[in-house]
Amino acid sequence: MGKMSLKIALPKGRLLAETAALLKRAGWGLEEYREKTRLYRLHSETIPGLFAKVFHERDIPIQVAIGNYDLGICGLDWVEELLAKYPSSAVEKVKDLGYGAGVLHLVASKANGAPASMDEVSSLAGGIRIASEYPNLAESLALNLRLRQFSIFPLWGGAEVYPPESADLALVPGRKRQRLFDYGLASLGEVQRYSAFLIANKDRWQSKDLGELASSLETALAAGDLRLPAAEVAKEPVALKARRAGDVAGDTVRLALPDGHQQQPTLDLLNKAGIEITDYPSPQGNRRPLINLDGVTVKVIRPQDMPLQVANGNFDLAITGRDWLREHLYQFPSSPASEISDLGFGKVRIVAVVSQDMAVSDIYGLRQLIGEESKSLRVASEYVNIADKYARDNHLGGYRIVPTWGATEAFLPEDADLLIENTQTGRTIAKHKLKIIDTLGQSSACLVASARGEASPGKRARMDSLINSLRMAVEDV
């Protein structure tokens, strides 16, 4: 193969094992691309000029479309999610790689009164709430179903736990012809089939000779099944139960607890407050654990999604990070979501980060540098609105925000110039040869509620009691 430079974006997560097996068979010489690898940047040992970087799957179509990468491998679902909103994105769908197949289903609760088919959805009157990690596909579905009034709740994860209390419908991944889903949900129809795809930047696909690489994948695919030994295939999930009767009674307090790494400190705090909770953190990923408080129900959702959910009245109380509350309020200043108590744990700093190779030591230096080089600054962050406000307030010229879905440190220096990140110790930042040039603020876990406070006296009393016991537990450190 030629000596030109070729860049490919490879997925972390669910597609990694099969993609690594495919590339190995195709002889791409990216041996370090494997499960649990700590390397994000890989140079091929066999193909000169081939450079690979590992991304969250959802970032890959964007990275390929904007031309940072010539090729990418990711699920078709994320390609279609991008194209649903930005149809002119420069993404070429080159080859269906076959593995990692699934279907996005529109699901609703099996409970009485919930819609049982797509046609019934179309005929529903009033506002319909759709929760999904795929907000663009959900919106075009809503338009095609001719929904008159609808709200899309974009999510970072856990869409399946939202219906029926927190959303009427959810758009979730499943299997082909799957009828029933966890938490008592049923499919109303298949919306989008997907599997791993080789994609290319449209311009590069026409101007660069990428055909040889693509056909090496084709040969490797043709050589046989890529399926992994049974032990490595993710286990069939344990069927998770639907809500209990009475969960949605008017006086019930709906509490949202975080998934991910804030689970243990959250559990510790609850225990300290004398609150017992079963199956949290859950080894099966159960998002509806049981709590020993009368009139309180719990759902486990992503902390990023909580402020919007509280604002919309889908939860009464939520334990999330102040960073995510601030991110939400920067986007929607009139939102009723507000902090009612600092919970003390999960302390992080929100920082501005650049590569150690960049000859600046603070934000003023950075501003001067972009003024001299008159180029536009790429600002990568999971906190799109915090990053946007920071860049705006600091007059960072014609900047662009690159939204990311994790592992943001890997974006510097090739794919972004500035990061807005959170850090506990700064060690990860240093390890990636990056440096902090500014601190935007502190964040820690906090209790969030709606400032509108439209609760019945009974519910109000339950909320106050829960808030008080958490406050006392925090003070009793």
Binding site: P87, S88, I152, N312, H328, Q331, F332, S376, G398
Partner: protein, 414 residues
């Protein structure tokens, strides 16, 4: 770093604005002349104003500029107005419901995404809505009005294409589709998707053939329509009232001497039409169009109110008009040069000259007398006013401003 205008959007130069205002003025004069009143609705509306079934097709809704604004935490999206009629219908329901007939017009920009960025994503249109009347006479009045505007701005050789949404719908109702499917096929046909028609042909050959025959129908008289009507009368009685309606409109158009072409497949993207649809075009470019939308106001919750309307597209029209120069002739332009001590008098006489209909400017750096018919120099001692008629190369020394006004303003200064 140079920042250009957004892709798909355009600047209008002084010359283009001259043509824009010329068309806008003719349009407004014509509307006022027919007894219509002007309204203006906001640029931003809630998206769900446009998502109601029977308003815009999903194809068009997929190309609107919608987003969550600062208040968007409830998930309610807002949209840059993608259509002119629906906001006016909302205005009618909010402000004029129950007051019967309303004759409204507007001049507005509408926003629709177009993928290549080579065509305009912001377009200007002058629209007219006649609300509360269902007669064919109203449809014909609107058609005649649209043609009158075009004639006033000097655009000739305009073609008129006639279609009827009711005819297509009644044929589709025979396909035995669910309401959702039927709406989808109607959208596809209006979105210009020929596959939809091919699919119907393969599934229901006889109906598909009838539909194809209708969509391919071309003719330029009510007689042609009557012939087609006779073909359908037995098998499809539900099509008869729509055919009769179209024939009435066609006959009225003939009575007022309007020539037209029948083309049932025109009227793309606007699902709200229920009756006659008309399109105006010249050399293959669409200059405007309109039609009857009796179901729109009922769908929006405004009661059983019929309506029809049209819009003329200013962007293609601007390429076709050649207005007389919109700026004042040089003979009426005065350049005023003052000494610093008498600057107050300079501004004073400039104001009086403008009131007399002249262009009067105080000289700034870079301004040359060559562009002006007159040069007026103000001095702090006699002669206070020195006026030069540059065309006739005459020089006048005057004691007061009245003398200047008399010479420059001519008979306008009464």
């Amino acid at each position: 770093m140079r920042v250009r205008q957004c892709k798909g959007f355009r600047d209008l130069s002084p010359q283009e604005m001259g043509r824009f205002r010329f068309i806008a003025q003719a349009f407004r004069d014509c509307c006022f002349g027919w007894g219509f009143s002007e309204v203006r609705t906001p640029t931003l509306e809630y998206l769900h104003l446009f998502t109601a079934t029977g308003t815009l097709t999903p194809g068009m809704l997929g190309r609107v500029y919608s987003f969550l604004d600062w208040d968007g935490w409830s998930g309610q999206r807002v949209v840059l107005r993608p259509d002119g009629t629906i906001p006016v219908a909302r205005f009618y329901i909010d402000n004029l419901a129950g007051k019967g007939l309303a004759k409204l017009f507007y001049l507005a920009n509408i926003f629709r995404f177009e993928e290549t960025g080579e065509e305009a994503r912001e377009r200007w249109q002058g629209g007219v809505e006649l609300i509360g009347v269902s007669s064919p006479l109203a449809d014909v009045e609107l058609t005649v009005m649209a043609l009158e505007v075009l004639s006033r701005v000097g655009v000739s050789g305009v073609g008129l294409r006639l279609s009827h949404a009711g005819i297509i719908r009644s044929l589709l109702s025979r396909l035995g589709l669910s309401p959702r499917e039927q709406a989808r096929v109607f959208d596809q046909i209006l979105d210009g998707d020929s596959e939809a028609l091919a699919e119907i042909k393969s599934r229901r050959p006889r109906l598909g053939k009838a539909l194809a025959a209708l969509l391919e129908l071309r003719g330029d008289s009510s007689a042609a329509l009557k012939e087609v009507k006779a073909l359908f009368d037995h098998g499809l009685p539900e099509i008869t009232p729509h055919m009769d309606n179209m024939i009435s409109v066609a006959e009225l158009l003939e009575a007022v001497g309007c020539r037209y072409q029948i083309d049932i497949a025109s009227g793309r993207g606007f699902e709200y039409y229920t009756g006659v649809i008309f399109e105006l075009y010249k050399d293959g470019r669409k200059l405007g169009g309109g039609g009857r939308y009796d179901a729109l106001i009922p769908l929006m919750g405004g009661g059983d109110i019929p309506a029809s309307g049209f819009a003329l597209y200013l962007d293609p029209l601007m390429d076709l008009v050649t207005p007389e120069a919109s700026s004042r002739p040089q003979a009426r332009r005065v350049l005023i040069r003052t000494e610093p001590k008498v600057i107050g008098r300079g501004f004073d006489i400039a104001r009086r000259l403008r009131e007399a209909g002249c262009v009067a400017e105080l000289q700034l750096e870079g301004q040359e007398p060559a562009d002006f018919g007159w040069l007026l120099e103000l001095k702090d001692k006699a002669p206070f006013f020195v006026l030069t008629d540059r065309a006739r190369q005459q020089r006048f020394e005057l004691k007061d401003a009245d003398g200047v006004l008399e010479l420059v303003g001519g008979e306008d200064v009464a």
